[in-house]
C-alpha cells in the first residue's frame, strides 16, 4: 500500500489518520499509538527540515503488514538532504524538562521497535517497524518472591 503527500504540514494528519485506520485491527492499541506518533514525527521533520530542492517533490509512504507486525517506509522527497535519525542523539525525556522543541527524534527512537535508514534507487528512505504486541504490556509478571 503506497501513499504520496506534498511536503506540507496540512497533509500529514490526513495521511496518519489513514494509516491508523489501516493498522487499527493489526496492532495493539499501545503499539498503534507509538506507530502513529513515530510516523507523525518523521513526516513533520521532513516537512520542516528536509528542504527538497526538486519542485513538486513528494513524500512517499508505504505500508506493509504481516504476522511480524507492520512496516512503515517513508521515502524522502527527491533532492532532500539525507537525515538518519539513528545518528541523532535522542531521549524524549531530555535533559531539559521544559524544552519546547527537540523531542521529535527521541520520540521516533523510543517509539519504534526497529529503525532502518538508507538509500534505495537513489532515494533516501526510513523504515519503521513495529511488532504487533507491546512487549512491556504483555510481559509475564515476575514470581512473587514473598509467596510461601
Amino acid at each position: 500500500m503506497s501513499y504520496t503527500i506534498p511536503p506540507s504540514l496540512d497533509a500529514v494528519d490526513p495521511l496518519v489518520r489513514r494509516l491508523d485506520a489501516e493498522l487499527r485491527d493489526h496492532l495493539d492499541p499501545e503499539v498503534l499509538f507509538r506507530a502513529m506518533l513515530s510516523v507523525t514525527e518523521v513526516l513533520t521533520n521532513i516537512v520542516q527540515h528536509c528542504q527538497p530542492r526538486t519542485p513538486g517533490a513528494v513524500i512517499e509512504v508505504r505500508l506493509a503488514r504481516n504476522e511480524a507486525g507492520a512496516t512503515i517506509t517513508v521515502f524522502e522527497p527527491e533532492g532532500a538532504a539525507p537525515f538518519d535519525p539513528r545518528q541523532a542523539a535522542g531521549d524524549p525525556a531530555g535533559a531539559e524538562a521544559l524544552a519546547e522543541n527537540g523531542r521529535g527524534i527521541g520520540l521516533i527512537q523510543a517509539c519504534t521497535d526497529h529503525i532502518d535508514y538508507g538509500a534505495v534507487a537513489g532515494r533516501h528512505r526510513l523504515c519503521l517497524r513495529f511488532e504487533p504486541r507491546d512487549a512491556a504490556a504483555h510481559a509475564a509478571p515476575e514470581a512473587d518472591q514473598n509467596r510461601p
Binding site: D13, P29, T44, V47, Q48, A93, L98, A99, L107
Partner: protein, 114 residues
Amino acid sequence: MIHSTKYENDFMVVRPGAERLTAVNAKIFKDETIALIEGGATRLIVDFAGTTFLDSSGLGALTGVLKRIGHRGDLVVCGLSADLQQMFRICRMDRVFSIYPDEQSALRALAEES
C-alpha cells in the same frame, strides 16, 4: 481554537478545541492560552478530554505555556486518554505536570491547595 471556562477562585479550564494537537495547530493553542495568562489567568487546568492525539509539537506548546506561567501560578492537566498518558510517560511529563482524571477532580485538588 481553544475554549475556556472561568470558575470561582480564579480557576480557568482550557480545552484545546482540537482532536489532534500537532505541528499544524500547536502554535495557535500556545498563543491563545498565553493570551489568557497575559489577561490575568494564573491557575489553569488544561482539559485534554477532547484530544486524542498529541505529538512533540503539541507537548512543546504545553511546556511553553507552563514556562510562561512560571512561578506566578499553576498549570495542571486532566482528561488524558490512554494514548496521551503513554505520551506523557515516554517524555517523563508525568513528573512535570500534575495530572488528574477529569476537570472536577482537578478543580477540587486545586481548591484544597488554596
